[in-house]
């Protein structure tokens, strides 16, 4: 057993933390809400190697393993950085697996923004329910459909899209992967800020020209692999956020006085904080479990992905609700530093599946594992 971090990862984490502390604040966050990304912050992240750490050497990076992802995102979470790094990991990872090395290179250099258009109205968290249609004529593909809540779509130069090349809406087979240029014809967007920071959009495609990437049969396995990696990123980010929220709440309990003494001296509140601390350590362990299995065979990988996402969904709810409660009124205000952390942590439950979704999947995967 060895739970220590490698020297390289420790160095990256330290420099990332210092940079964020120095550079990241309300202005950068406002920029991300307005445009999807603050160019100065994005350039700094690329410069530090944050984007490179998400990819393997063959892909042009210098990391790409589970612990690399966990290290980066835990630090990003601590300051609730609203830059689209998860999109870089997710859509960039898919492009890398499909041999699109030029785009990945640009991404790592900080010269590109990406997004994955997968969710549709009504498919909720189901990766293989795809109704956007892909049609081919004379070797050229065109896509028609509605993709919903596409995170980072407004800033993306290139959009990775899932669409159906064969079969029915719910079929696991017949899902294709495509890229669509941001200025492609027939592409329309309704952009908006996201509750956890950054920007998203409703994306409609109307006979929009697209390039097919990925395997000829079905893209489901690629999609599932990269969503598992994105879940790892999201869970690690959540742990970083929870650490920051716990520290803020503890500080507040030590300084806020009512009835002539610090409210942290009331045992009822002390016990709440003890419970919160326990759940955060559980969450940290769930992330370690997933980080250690994210490159394993799919059934094992996804069991850990669902376990982590399920546990962190529960822990996040507790941390969101109790941190606000223990702060009292001040915890409800937008201006105080807790607000954006709480909103971003809350949003974790609305992407890549909520706790119920993953509880159900965990049970199904377990039954599958025992039967096999």
């Amino acid at each position: 057993m060895d739970f220590t971090m490698s020297d390289e990862r420790r160095m990256l984490a330290d420099s990332l933390r210092r940079t964020i502390e120095r550079q990241y604040g309300p202005e950068a966050r406002a920029k991300a809400d307005d445009t999807g990304s603050d160019p100065a912050v994005w350039a700094a992240l690329a410069e530090l190697g944050v984007l490179g750490a998400l990819f393997t050497e063959e892909q042009g990076g210098f990391g790409g393993a589970g612990p690399d992802i966990a290290t980066v995102f835990e630090e990003l979470g601590r300051a609730a950085v609203a830059e689209p790094v998860t999109e870089a990991l997710l859509a960039g990872g898919i492009l890398a697996d499909c041999g699109k090395s030029d785009a990945v290179e640009q991404l790592i250099a900080g010269d590109m923004h990406l997004c994955l258009a997968q969710t549709e109205p009504g498919n909720r968290y189901d990766l293989t329910t795809v109704s956007t249609q892909a049609t081919e004529s004379g070797g050229a593909w065109a896509l028609t459909g509605h993709k919903s809540v596409v995170v980072n779509a407004p800033a993306a130069n290139l959009i990775v899209v899932t669409a159906r090349v064969a079969g029915d809406v719910g079929d696991r087979d017949g899902i294709g992967l495509f890229t669509v240029a941001a200025n492609a014809k027939g592409l329309a967007m309704r952009p908006y800020p996201m509750i956890g920071g950054g920007r998203g959009a409703e994306v409609t495609l109307d006979a929009t020209p697209a390039e097919r990437i990925g395997p000829d049969d079905t893209a489901a396995p690629i999609l599932e692999r990269h969503v598992a990696r994105a879940i790892l990123a999201q869970c690690a980010e959540a742990v970083g956020m929870m650490d920051a929220i716990r520290d803020m709440t503890l500080d507040y309990l030590r300084t806020r006085k009512q009835f002539g003494r610090p409210i942290g001296s009331f045992q009822a509140l002390q016990h709440r904080m003890a419970d919160m601390a326990i759940e955060i350590e559980q969450a940290r362990s769930a992330v370690l479990n997933l980080a250690g299995h994210v490159d394993e065979e799919p059934a094992l990988r996804d069991r850990h992905a669902s376990a982590a996402k399920q546990l962190i969904g529960r822990a996040a709810r507790l941390v969101v609700e109790d941190s606000v409660q223990l702060h009292g009124g001040i915890g409800m205000t937008a201006e105080y530093g807790l607000g954006h952390l709480v909103r971003r942590l809350m949003a974790v439950d609305h992407r890549f599946g909520d706790t119920d979704h993953h509880l159900e999947r965990f049970i199904a995967l377990r039954i599958g594992a025992e039967a096999g």
Partner: protein, 399 residues
């Protein structure tokens, strides 16, 4: 024992329902159901409808123009009105100040202010909390110093709900800084918001709403006749206000309306090829909260029956406050979860009053996350749930 309403009570309920059918404008109930922000005029419009019917002040005695309804009738009215997604009645004048003036105000104050409250001539807000005085309300530091026929008020109030609309504020102010106990030096003062030296600044909450404010006082001159009761006895009046009129505290009507809304959403949202309401995991969560609500409705009626028999609600109202807010917050949580990925767009213009923006996803989605966030307040204000637990352990459990 009989759990059902008497024929008279049922007849009253039918009357309330008919009134709501005829007189609650759909424009208003749609806004409430969709979680949109209400304007001052929206509140006033609904007040006017209730006033016409004589139900704006159901708890006031007839002598003061109220409806003097029984506790059970009040409960029925409350429940039906909220379940129909009517705007809430703004409580500051009608439910808070009104009863205090009736009990402790001078006859001149009663004759002047009560009809104006009933008529919506004045919009009142509540100036209790301060940055340093939340749960420990008796530590208020805003001072009122007597100079001739006036008090000179200096200090700051905060979290003042809908203070941006207010013409008047009732305040707890410190008139005797030397008093032995902090509770002893407090007075209850009525202050015209148009007096020079008052500044109102909005506070933006985490859901993007601006319903609370900071109110600053610098050398604000208030005529002494605006003092309620005796100087330095304000704490007694404040406590009376806090314990009075607590039957609605459980929020059964709000919970029922919220649950009905949740069920509609869950029946519409699809999950794994079937409605979310048929997903066993989600169905179990909805059933759980419904079971809790059914029991709480009866707990609430037990307290209402006591009140009807003339007993003042004691620590029971603390129980209702805690359980009621837990249930409402759970419903808010489930509603947020039910809308799935559409909880993530954060387009506050969709919640603005009078919005005509195209919705993002289903129309009901826009308010789900903001309302979840906003209603975290339920367990913080009106005596936080921790404070209520303290009351239960001390006065009910004798620990």
């Amino acid at each position: 024992m009989d759990l059902s309403y008497t024929p008279e009570e049922r007849a009253f309920r039918d009357e309330v329902r008919a009134f709501l059918r005829d007189r609650l404008p759909k424009r208003l109930s749609d806004k409430v159901r969709l979680g949109r922000h209400l304007s001052k005029d929206d509140y006033l419009e609904w007040h006017a409808r209730l006033r016409e019917k004589g139900w704006l002040a159901p708890n006031w005695p007839k002598a003061h123009g109220g409806a003097e309804l029984s506790a059970v009738q009040r409960h029925i009215l409350d429940e039906e009105v909220t379940a129909a997604h009517a705007p809430r009645v703004v409580p500051f004048g009608l439910n808070m100040l009104g009863p205090v003036l009736m009990k402790f105000g001078s006859s001149e104050q009663q004759a002047h202010y009560l009809p104006r409250i009933l008529n919506d001539d004045d919009w009142w807000c509540q100036g209790y909390s301060e940055p340093g005085a939340g749960s420990d309300l008796a530590s208020v530091r805003t001072t009122a110093v007597r100079e001739g026929d006036e008090y000179v008020v200096n200090g700051q109030k905060t979290w003042t709900t809908l203070g941006q609309h207010a013409d008047w504020i009732f305040c707890l102010v410190r008139t005797d800084p030397q008093a032995e106990k902090p509770q002893q030096g407090i007075s209850f003062l009525l202050i015209d918001m148009n007096t020079p030296g008052i500044e109102v600044r909005p506070i933006v909450l985490i859901d993007g709403s601006t319903e609370v404010n900071e109110v600053f006082f610098s050398d604000v001159r208030v005529p002494v006749e605006n003092l309620v009761g005796e100087e330095n006895k304000g704490w007694t009046y404040a406590k009376y206000l806090l314990t009075h009129e607590r039957t609605g505290i459980a929020g059964v009507g709000f919970a029922s309306a919220g649950l009905a809304n949740l069920k509609r959403i869950a029946a519409t949202e699809m999950s794994g090829g079937r409605p979310l309401s048929e997903n066993p995991f989600f169905a179990a969560r909805m059933a759980q909260v419904e079971i809790d609500l059914m029991a709480m409705a009866t707990t609430n009626l037990r307290v209402v029956a006591q009140a009807e028999a003339g007993q003042a609600p004691g620590p029971e109202s603390s129980m209702l406050k805690i359980k009621g807010t837990q249930i409402r917050q759970e419903i808010n949580f489930l509603t947020r979860r039910a809308v799935g990925p559409y909880a993530m767009p954060f387009a506050s213009e969709l919640l603005e009053e009078g919005t005509n923006h195209e919705p993002i996803g289903p129309e009901y989605a826009a308010a789900a996350a903001p309302q979840y966030l906003n209603n975290r307040k339920l367990s913080i204000y009106g005596g936080s749930n921790e404070i209520q637990r303290g009351i239960i352990t001390k006065t009910l459990l004798n620990l």
